[in-house]
């Protein structure tokens, strides 16, 4: 089921939708050219945008206007891109960030 609001009782109907293909974690999806990456993902029913670097727990958008940095993704190889501020382009390759090694903590857990 699409999450898009094509017809809105006050704001009217969305016209001239320019769809493009992009990939998210290797899966090919469709979105609208120029909409935010966060909107394109949510329109596809995707809420989990990244996994926390330390705990590995899933994260989605929080503020949606660039303040909170919760929606960081890798875009075409560039890290730390805010999905809520970045316009979608054709063939964008978007990847979630994931859990990173925490060697000092891991070492302590086994040795202290």
């Amino acid at each position: 089921m699409t999450m898009r609001i094509i017809d809105h009782p006050v704001l009217g109907r969305l016209n001239d939708l320019n769809t493009v293909l992009f990939t998210f974690n290797g899966e090919t999806l469709t979105g609208l050219l120029g909409e935010s990456i966060a909107a394109a993902l949510l329109a596809n029913g995707i809420r989990t945008i990244r996994y926390h670097e330390e705990s590995g727990t899933p994260r989605g958008i929080y503020c949606n206007i660039g303040h909170c940095f919760e929606c960081r993704v890798h875009v075409n190889g560039q890290q730390g891109v805010r999905a809520c501020l970045t316009p979608l382009e054709e063939n964008m390759n978007i990847i979630s960030g994931g859990k990173l090694p925490t060697p000092v903590r891991d070492w302590r857990a086994n040795n202290e």
């Binding site: 999450m3 898009r4 609001i5 094509i6 809105h8 009782p9 006050v10 704001l11 969305l14 120029g34 909409e35 935010s36 909107a39 949510l42 329109a43 809420r47 989990t48 945008i49 926390h52 727990t57 899933p58 994260r59 989605g60 958008i61 929080y62 503020c63 949606n64 206007i65 660039g66 303040h67 909170c68 809520c84 501020l85 970045t86 316009p87």
Partner: protein
């Protein structure tokens, strides 16, 4: 070369740029968002006079006026720092560095978060995030939501979600903690709702504003407030229930609600679950003023203005030469007021450029701002005028201190 740079393409920044361009100044507007309009973009409500205030349309009108006047826009451009070097403001962005003699900060407001167990689950977002998804991007934040935090902004956005055919299961208070403070106190929240009685077509609020004139009646009102809530636009507003936890495995599945006493304490054994696929946290707004702090502006905490605001006078000048402010960075108010503030700041900058030729225009703009404030439909704080007076007192004191130092 430009005469002025505006940071923030919201209602204040756009109208400031328009006013300066109309006076013949060369202006550049920088904003990190991909569209011009700022928080105005998401706004949608029915005016008391009939007709709709459509933020998308209002933003486009302002943006197009600015473009037609030759204003230069750098959208999708985050500003990371500002500093003054050799009498010029230097603005650092992700790509280029710009310099200008006049800098207008119109950075707006940010939302206060309220931490609740489970709030990092995907599907939990600020209430403004849901507004932007729904009205600007036209994507539903979910099919059924719960809003945590009862205030002017959350009730307005609840209605916007409903217009877009998104179910709002209820609006409830957050659990009372040191962080949630007043947003978790039923009596305080009810008092603040009574102040916006005119925009809340709830029976409680409509009746309440007339009946609940004294503290005793207010206390009775919240004591006997129905546990299942009272409906506003068919959405239950729960002043006697708090969201104590958001649950779900990999995303939101629902919230746990508990009954609370009139002062906000949880009543054990009253926990119930409500299923939902998204949760909005509404902690209210505060002025987004980091850049003014980086520049070295003195700040004052003024409750009525929503937090710390950079010291400025009624013509929107800060104490730093060539640095001006407009919009919600000066205190939390509606977009119509921000537009008037931007206009005033733009004229103040142009007046400096033309060595005082625009004094009359500035007086007119001040008057327009005051009458817009008096007639504001949406008021975020009932004592906004007291807040503005406090600020002017701080300004006068600052001017006196400077004179003392000079003498």
């Amino acid at each position: 070369m430009n005469n002025a740079i505006v940071i923030g393409a919201g209602p204040a920044g756009l109208s400031g740029a328009i006013s300066m361009a109309q006076q013949g100044l060369k202006v550049t507007v920088i904003d990190e968002y991909m569209k011009a309009g700022g928080r105005l973009l998401g706004q949608l409500y029915e005016e008391p006079t009939g007709g709709w205030w459509n933020g998308v349309k209002e933003s486009a009108n302002l943006y197009n006026s600015a473009l037609s006047l030759g204003v230069d826009f750098k959208l999708s451009t985050p500003v990371s720092n500002i500093e003054k070097i050799d009498g010029q403001w230097v603005v650092y962005t992700n790509e280029h560095t710009y310099t200008t003699p006049n800098l207008l900060l119109a950075t707006g407001a940010a939302e206060l978060p309220i931490p609740i167990p489970g709030w990092t689950l995907p599907g939990v977002m600020s209430v403004g995030a849901a507004q932007v998804m729904t009205n600007v991007h036209r994507v539903k934040p979910g099919n059924k939501g719960v809003i945590v935090g009862v205030n002017v902004l959350s009730s307005a956005i609840a209605m916007e979600l409903k217009i877009a055919n998104i179910e709002v299961a209820c609006i409830a208070l957050p659990r009372l903690t040191k962080v949630s403070e007043e947003t978790g106190n039923p009596l305080t929240v009810m008092n603040s709702l009574l102040n916006v009685a005119h925009m809340a077509p709830s029976q409680l609020v409509k009746m309440g504003s007339k009946l609940m004139k004294n503290d005793f009646l207010k206390k009775m009102g919240i004591t006997f407030y129905p546990k299942k809530g009272m409906k506003m636009w068919d959405i239950p507003i729960m002043l006697r229930k708090a969201v104590i936890e958001i649950y779900g495995n990999n995303s939101v599945d629902g919230v746990i609600l508990a009954d609370i006493s009139p002062s906000g304490e949880i009543i054990p054994g009253t926990e119930t679950k409500i299923s939902a696929d998204f949760v909005c946290i509404a902690g209210g707004l505060y002025p987004l003023a980091e850049l003014a702090a980086l520049a070295g502006c003195p700040f004052h905490w003024i409750e009525e203005l929503g937090g710390y605001v950079p010291l400025h006078n009624e013509k929107m000048e800060t104490v730093l030469d060539g640095l001006y402010v407009a919009g919600n960075i000066t205190g939390i108010e509606g977009a119509k007021i921000a537009i008037k503030q931007g206009h005033l700041a733009g004229l103040t900058i142009a007046n400096k450029n033309y060595h005082g030729k625009l004094e009359q225009e500035i007086q007119d703009a001040l008057q327009q701002l005051n009458s817009t404030r008096e007639n504001a439909f949406i008021q975020f704080h009932p004592d906004i005028n007291i807040g503005k007076q406090k600020l002017q007192q701080y300004w006068i004191k600052h001017q006196q201190d400077i004179k003392l130092v000079k003498n």
